[in-house]
Amino acid sequence: MDAGRGTGRTLYDKIVDAHVVRDLDGLGEEVLLYVDRSVLNEYTSPQAFTRLRAANRPVWRPRATLGVVDHVNSTAADRGALMPDEAGQTQTDYFARNSADFGIEKFDVLHPMQGIEHVVMPEMGLVQPGMVIAAGDSHTTTYGAFGALGFGIGTSDIEHYLATQTLVYRRLKNMRVRIDGRLGFGVVSKDLVMTLIREIGASGATGYAIEFAGQAIAALSVEARMTICNMAVECGARGALIAPDDKVFAAIEGKPRAPRGALWDQAVAYWRTLRSDEGARFDQEIALDASEIAPMVTWGTSPDQAAPISAYVPQPNGRADIARALDYMDLRPGAALADIPIQRAFIGSCTNARIEDLRQAAAVLRGRRVAAGVRAMIAPGSSAVRRQAEAEGLDRVFIAAGFEWRQSGCSMCLAMNDDVLAPGERCASSTNRNFEGRQGAGGRTHLMSPAMVAAAAVMGRLTDVRKLGARA
């Protein structure tokens, strides 16, 4: 064995080791990796099925995969079965045909469990500790919150997965990010992960799987952990893991596809073993103190171009990337971040549109109104989240505040449907990427937590939510 790994193994290494079908390079570095589950969407899967059809190959284990329509569908409150445009309709029609012909379960846009794939999979109980889950979407890292190794793959690898239930996989290095201390009032897991990305940069974890550990991580809910693992890909990580605990088991128990009875007991006994050994060797260790972290916003066009809300737009000081980002964002060096006006506010995405996110936003919005000139939208993470929010009366808070209460989908996180920023519009967004044009050509995105989006919507500018306070 690789002497570098020593006697103690990391959680990542344990999960990979348990899924090696064949060693491909004689070193255990490149392996044929068994994949337990996948989820398909309508836009990255079509070409994989076309290749399977051309080669007349069946899907190895159709029941291991779920299809969910999420990227191109409408989020209008009164949406029907049709997609907003013809090309999207062609994609969902082909998705339906592929699911039917290859025997894969699919949630179409009107299915009661439809939603964003990474919200739906845990809701179904399909994400379980120790699993390997690869899917055609970079934010598959979300599943690390359950102690499952999730990672994104391209369409060629979707095809490889569907035909063989395996992937040709290169082992990653191990990084541990330890976050101790307590989060302050108004500071949430989004702020933790945005701080990490700013600290290590957009490629700081490229080639690594990150294990998150420490008191601050242990104190988080499973949903809050999902936000952290989700955005780990924004610093390059191809896997993010948190050792599963009782909170995770409680979040899985009773879900539609969770194990039951004797199998449940057997599963939990195994899941309790899923943690890094004492003395396991990490190639890189990073420590953060949660108590020093403030609400964060991005000012640039890469997720690592972020700062606490109390900070100022940076000076380029000869750095072409900063100058280019500020030019695109139309920001003046030295301006206070909290003075930046917005025209749009968006709460949604696989990063921050689960029920706890909506509760935090509603706590800010209760009894308040969206500022004049701001268009504000909420696209819940799933149809189940939407129903739960309505059962709690949150929809009435959002509507009274002037937010559009929409249906579920990826929506304006990447604007593949008709939810798009106009050129020059500036948006406070609970999503994961502030790339140029991400939310619409010429659109300007500021990433932040859902409560911070709510605060920005109310004030009409980027705002420190702690100064606004929550209303019970």
């Binding site: 999207g88 369409t155 890469s302």
Partner: protein
């Protein structure tokens, strides 16, 4: 055969030194609505190639008549970050790009390159700097020899490292799914043991 094997290729190289070029920039969302791989060459770097009115931006390398369609791109660090969309790789290849040379690439994009026969070379920073300087001056004739793992551009000669498995895949161009299915019995045997050990996992 799944793509044309990469052995020795020659052509003009262009410089694109910006850091963190993401796949949204390489292939914007409006080109992701197809169900096939065709027609993506017109989407590549669309926001950098055309202005809001649709007119070509003259000084962008893909519009500059000295290059027009560069065969090789010398790129900045973390090229291909962000979305998993393989459309970015399909589009680059359809636009004539055959290899990328940089210090680092984002993981999913890097794998997508290999699966399609696009050679992404992680080269030493000083070699990338030298090539960037050369390609920034103007069109730079370059020769990449994958079996020998060498890049030659005029008097600049450098060697690069590549994992043996990736080199084999790129120089063979063989269908990866077909190769894996040769081990179908091993997969089935693994699966039986996996489900026996972790029975709740069986879907």
């Amino acid at each position: 055969m799944s793509f044309e094997p990469f052995i020795v290729r020659e052509g003009l190289a262009a410089a694109m030194p910006v850091a963190n070029v993401d796949t949204d920039v390489i292939m914007p969302k409006q080109f992701l609505k197809g169900i096939d791989r065709a027609g993506l060459d017109r989407g590549v770097f669309h926001g950098l190639r055309y202005d809001a009115s649709g007119a070509p931006i003259a000084d962008f390398i893909f519009n500059d008549s000295r290059w027009r369609a560069p065969r090789f791109l010398i790129v900045g660090p973390n090229f291909g970050c962000g979305s998993s969309r393989e459309h970015a790789v399909w589009g680059l290849m359809q636009a004539g790009v055959s290899a990328l040379i940089g210090t680092s690439f984002a993981g999913i994009f890097f794998d997508n390159c290999t699966r399609n026969g696009l050679l992404a070379i992680c080269a030493a920073p000083n070699d990338v700097d030298a090539l960037l300087a050369r390609a920034t001056e103007g069109p730079c004739a370059m020769r990449i020899d994958l079996p020998e793992q060498t890049i030659v551009a005029g008097d600049l000669k450098s060697r690069f490292e590549i994992e043996p498995g990736r080199k084999r895949a790129l120089t063979s161009g063989l269908d990866a799914v077909g190769l894996t299915l040769e081990h179908r019995d091993a997969i089935a045997a693994f699966e039986a043991e996996h489900f026996a050990r972790y029975p709740w996992i069986k879907p």
